[in-house]
């Protein structure tokens, strides 16, 4: 393998290691987090509103992160409201981008 490639790969792996180390103080994802994320996804699927089904849901230590795209401002607000009603969710961080 060319030396140039080896150097680039080594740089990349070092960066990844540094990033992982920086993230290590984060609380571990728990089974309860996964269960709550599933409940939020189900709540969004159950909603009749268009495109709430395409939202990415992640729960870490009780905090629900919504990311991806919503079709309208109302959809974005409704997604946050649905997520906040799931038992165990302490906070909703709404990062949905509305794409007109």
């Amino acid at each position: 393998m060319p030396a140039r490639v080896c150097r680039s790969l080594a740089w990349l792996w070092l960066s990844l290691a540094a990033c992982t180390s920086a993230c290590s103080p984060l609380p571990p994802r728990t089974i309860q987090d996964d269960h709550m994320a599933s409940m939020v996804r189900n709540a969004l699927l159950d909603s009749r509103r268009l495109n709430l089904s395409r939202i990415d849901v992640s729960v870490e230590d009780g905090v629900c992160y919504l990311s991806g795209e919503a079709s309208s401002g109302e959809s974005k607000i409704e997604a946050e409201a649905l997520a906040s009603r799931v038992p165990g969710i302490t906070q909703v961080v709404n990062k949905l981008e509305v794409q007109p």
């Binding site: 990033c19 994802r29 309208s72 401002g73 007109p100």
Partner: protein, 375 residues
Amino acid sequence: MRPGPLVLFFTAGIVVAADCGAAEDRVLWQAGGFLDLSYGLDFNHPDNHRWRSKETTHRTDELAPQMGYLYVEKDPTRSSRWGMEWAFQGGNDTTSLVPREAPMGGADILRHVARANLSYLAPIGTGLTLTGGIFRGFKNYESYYAKSNYNYTRAYLTDYNPNFMLGVGAEYDVTDAMEVGLFVVNEYQYLAHANDQPSYALSFEWRASKHLTTYQNLYYGPDQGATSVRFWRAFSDSTLEWRGEDLTLALSYDVGTERIADQAGGPRAFWMASALFSQYHLAGPWSIAVRPEVFWDRNGRMTQFQQMIWANTATLEYKRHVGAHEAIVRLEHRYDESTGKEGGFFINGLGRNGQPRLTAGQQVVWLSVVWAFDY
């Protein structure tokens, strides 16, 4: 490009900002960005580092800033009806946004403007959203930006879709589960200027059931100097999505055609593509995605080469949030094969004619990091 329209948009943006009213507007203002860095290890090791026929992630065997993106947006709602979007971008993935043929004046600068639009939610029926400026193109299943997708590299189908539009549009929620849109736009490639005639696009989305959604986009208009209807381009993009709690499947199919005006007899060009998107959430921050695809460019109208490409992409994703920040790390394997009269991918070394050698298969392993922040 004349500065007048940009000044107008900035001024209108100030007006939109002044329209802020209810507390919920806090939710509707959003700003942020992301940085997309990656390294693609190409086992062909082409001397020119080029991924032939690819519009995004087209540099391999080098650490590349594929995309940097900053945005601010205000979403229109019933309580605050004006909206706006401003976004700026840079990186390798913006270079292919400048059309090879008939780019408009200032295209090399405008490729850095990802969004510049105003929108208004008119009190008509359930709400008619009017938008003008530079806005997102077809709502096809995969985004132009890797941040939003299941896989890191984009499908050829995504690369050759109208990912950006310049013009005006209207979207209407027929019901909570159905939306239609009509757009009058510049051209298929938003930074092209082959003629002065507008083109037309139609979009339709329908949430048929809890798990099933269908998307349909249509384009029709002149994309050549000859503007006779005989030479107009017709394009269709269709997607059917099934989404469960942890598994999502989506099948997309594209077909396009137009008569080539500058060739004798005006022969008909034809291209077709299909991709199956899938993602399974394993546990916690881990997901896997697999995407087989095919792209047939019968006349070389899209990729510049008459070829049939099939590919398979497998991606392992780790996604983690840190407050307003988000890190997405992906390890991806991709195999592409190109056949046909002008098919092939670059491989190291030169051929007898002094040009880079070509080979049918290409295998690339990607490691990517996307760091995003949203406030």
